[in-house]
Amino acid sequence: MPQVTLTVNGKTSTVEVEGRTLLVELLREKLGLTGTHVGCDTSQCGACVVHVDGNSVKSCTMLAVQADGSSVTTIEGLAKADGTLHPMQEMFREHHALQCGFCTPGMVMAAVDLVAKNPQGLSEEQIRHGLEGNLCRCTGYHNIVKAIDAAQPLMHAK
């Protein structure tokens, strides 16, 4: 079986996987990082979004072997080592941007990348457009959009 070496949340691991193993399966089943979720089988819902080498990626759309040599950040690795939450996590809580929490890890990871890549700032319409790849069934997105908007100045101030 192929071996994959990758760094996840700062820790390097080498694991054996089947060729068909998806990155999300490696994260959840081999590394026990169950914060990344699977909500569909057609790469539509975005519950599985993680960062691979600084880009948000639907980890159900990437084979584990494709991540060989990569640096991956999952929701478990977003807060600082001392537990200080990322501003996006803080704003999701402050603005009640989650209900059941299942889409939240992917939503937060997608939002962090969206804001980070747009230092010029995003309008509400642009945030909504940027979230097209992430489904939430609970919130109606209203508070997610508010949270992301509120996180913009906090992230860019750093």
């Binding site: 929701i75 929490g101 889409c103 457009h129 919130t139």
Partner: protein, 791 residues
Amino acid sequence: MNAPFEGIGASVRRKEDLRFISGRGNYTDDINRPNQTYAVFRRSDRPHANIVSIDTSAAKSAPGVVAVYTAEDLAAIGGLPCGWQIHSKDGSPMAEPKHPVLAEGKVRHVGDPIAVVIAETKQQARDAAELIEIDLKDLPATATVTDALKSGAAQIHDNAPGNVCYDWHIGDKEATEAAFAKAAKIVKLDLENNRLVPNAMEPRVAIGDYDRHTSDYTLFTTSQNPHVIRLLMGAFVLGLPEHKLRVVAPDVGGGFGSKIYHYAEEATVTWAAGKLGRPVKWTADRTESFMSDAHGRDHVSTAEMALDAQGNFLALRVNTLANMGAYLSTFAPAVPTYLYATLLAGTYRTPVIYAEVKAVFTNTVPVDAYRGAGRPEATFLLERLVDTICHDTGFDPVAIRLQNFIPKDAFPYQTPVALQYDSGDYFTTMEVAMKNADYAGFPARKAAAAAKGKLRGIGISTYLEACGIAPSAVVGSLGARAGLYEVANIRVHPTGSVSVFTGTHSHGQGHETTLAQLVTSQLGVPFSQVEIVHGDTNRIPFGMGTYGSRSLAVGGTAMVKAMDKIIAKGKKIAAHLLEASVDDIEFADGSFKVAGTDRAKSLSEIALTAYVPHNYPITEIEPGLDETAFYDPANFTFPGGCHVCEVEIDPETGVTSIVNFTAVDDVGRVINPMIVEGQVQGGVAQGIGQALLEHAVYDSNAQLLSGSFMDYTMPRADNLTNISVATENTLCTHNPLGVKGCGEVGAIGSPPAVMNAVISALKDYGVRHMNMPASPEKIWGIINAGRKAAE
């Protein structure tokens, strides 16, 4: 510095969020048991067929396969039970065909499970499932109620002649006909309520576990009501007594009704775990969810209103065909009857009503309660009918509603369809909604949109719903096979912190926060010192779970009753310690005080005394401070309100944009305004989804066409807009908190508001009615046909 106010009425940030935003939630698929195996189901890809043969030999010898089971292996276990029994007009009980765990001799819908493969890995199970050879002989199939009722339609069950489950009615037929005979005007509308797929973001998961040493079974499952699953599966399917079966529903990623029911996969993995002596885990992929989670809605109706010359509603007559799907799901028969037809008075004082409901089997996934369950169907019918009356007669949609509302001073109000509303004020919710939506400014906005070549429309919907489900004796007399009370156990620990064990279940609603706020207010215990425990039959005494907006109205009231017992006992202990009469002890803000003095004992001092009873009235009361209450509600609760939707249609594409959505709801007393607002926004989003985007489509051969997120249009962030939410509350009169419920109002009030707006925008094109969803294709077709006709 004063501690922040964290009791009833405060928008406290949620306790549960910290684990969810940091990836530390514990959803069922996150659970793995030692020595676990994996189950994959082989499902029917045909809608209706006889099973000629099943050959599992290749699958059984495939790598890693532990077992392959079919219906033959499950012969000793029961079918999946139905929780309600409806009787037809003639008094006969509904047709109740067996719902086998795995298909027996015949498959009846695409997705019907035929066999299960259990293997060392999920991949091996998946590979082996493909190796099962199944010979099916196709039978004619029907997907719609109208097709299934045609003479000569394929018979889906031998014991349901004509595919009819029941033919039921409610109301006064003769009085209704008499009122129609003298009506100045009759307006008739044929309409459909589109079939939906609930699509909670977390797919269903079930893990069966079995301990050979104790013969104890455990089922970890994505359920809204673990005790109900224990009861249904234990007593009716597997024959396991309660003390040998534990059901755990940990963090659950959304339900919306779809996770109420007892499903075949739960019974299969539990049974197989016992058979194999190893844990068995099944995780649905989304494709399976589409063809195995209960669907929602799917009604075909005719509605007629009789009016006098002044526009007063004289009588309502309704005929509805309700799709049950291929088998009866747990709550299914109750949805189009007692959660639908009893709501047909709505907010109006229509004096007589008669409704007939025929429930019909088809070759589709079972249909059951989905957010709102019956009440959105009733509201859509009524509110579309009212706007159609205005279309046909020229009455104003605002004036005719005001004219026919149940007056403010008419409560308690007895409707002609069984329910008695305790409180409400539809005038105020409508007045505030129109103000918040700037209804008066609409003509100017419409003109401005027209100048840009866009079509604007505005729509109003008012609604009334019955929730806080439910008074047991009432639902028992209507056909429920269970009681619908709720249970709370309040444990004050020796140092004064509190654990609440509730029979309700949170899968997004925020109970860990809201219910803790109740304890903070009632017992004066700091919010941080309160823990809410739910979702485990081994920890919680009993419970009926969460659906029908019942958690606060029924479960919260059970908590209040248990806390009343805590306070009553605490008073006796305080009286002893303070050497006063029990009658002189007052309890407020966490302190037991001798009235008129400053002598007091805190709740934590009382708790310590109760657990270390050295100086204690031991001959009068027991040690400990731990009380349980069962609460059965006296009536349903009746939230109501008004939603106003403003849309803009691009005539070039037929795409409808929601430009404003305003909800003003009466949900009774609000515990956490932030959470209520979020619940309403989420419900409205699902209602907008139903109105504009979502439709579970079957082709004429009963193949499911919209079977993935590629084909079924879920609302996305850019399909929606900000949703303005406000409340104008009247208090429920029969529970101590005055609460009504807020979980479903959004999905109930919004679809007709959107559709009334769409139809108003298309007024110039002669549109009288359109069924949901108002897709760009439908709208563009109308606009284009209109243009062609004009050319």
